[in-house]
Symmetry: C2
């Protein structure tokens, strides 16, 4: 094994960032490997191959393949082909606002809209006991709140960065 001499300070910063991004992902329900691959792609100045990801993050080909695919499903990573190269290259969208918008879009679709559907559905129960009243009242408040959040996110998803910045001014 040959170690090329590289900028240690940078290598440490990079590793720290990848680590931290993985941990953040975990606490928001995103698998660590997926978040780490995303981190690596975010800071790569060039598109990189599965082999490079495997090497850099020390993970298996299967794991890289699965998680890169998941990132593509989220719409935040793309496959690229390089002329004269057979391998697939991957890049992450570097625009943080676009990233946030895309993540909002997906979480809305995958998590917020389904829970609103359940909340609407369970509302249909009838009865006037304390238990049932409390149930209807709480689930209704949750539904109304979720709907508001859903609407804000919808706006955000459809907006440009400027809209958000203006919103921030109004605070």
């Amino acid at each position: 094994m040959i170690y090329v001499c590289r900028d240690m300070q940078y290598e440490e910063a990079k590793s720290k960032f990848i680590q931290a991004w993985g941990t953040l992902g975990s606490s928001w329900g995103i698998n660590k490997a997926m978040a780490q691959i995303h981190a690596l792609l975010l800071i790569s100045s060039e598109p990189i191959t599965a082999d490079e990801i495997m090497e850099e993050l020390q993970m298996s080909r299967g794991n890289v393949n699965m998680n890169v695919r998941a990132l593509m499903d989220w719409g935040i990573v793309q496959k690229q082909n390089k002329a004269g190269e057979r391998k697939d290259f991957f890049i992450a969208d570097k625009d943080v606002w676009e990233l946030a918008r895309q993540v909002s879009r997906e979480r809305r679709r995958r998590e917020i809209e389904p829970i609103i559907r359940v909340l609407s559905d369970v509302q249909k129960v009838d009865g006037k006991s304390d238990e049932i009243s409390e149930f209807k009242s709480v689930t209704n408040e949750l539904k109304e709140f979720s709907t508001k959040i859903d609407n804000v996110l919808e706006k955000f998803v459809k907006s440009d960065q400027n809209w958000f910045l203006k919103l921030l001014m109004n605070l």
Copy 2:
């Protein structure tokens, strides 16, 4: 085992809600048992004991104890004492806005602020290569974005419901 005849429609709705809340929790990094206990407390018209939670959700005493404690750490569940009763009773805050505010407060403290600290820290690396420039640029954008989100959440946490509703009007 004796089954008391209860409103089946309600029992199903309740179970569906608890299930869905648990699943939602999971996809946002909150353990399922914790989210389910929270769901049960949310819809309980009266404070309930650990035994009642165990019975209703079919989980062990240890599990209930651990997760109720975690919910108290999040500041969204409280212990109550009933006159003439030795057991602890638990209640969840029923105000959905207050709940959202409290969750925002905690996630800010536990996840957003730490990642901002890491992003600021890794920025300190120096060098002018493409690699390092890209690294600095991306981590800086992430830091600025996170700081903006942190500020919005801070406002939200300190605000009353009315502030948010007014904000929604402006959309």
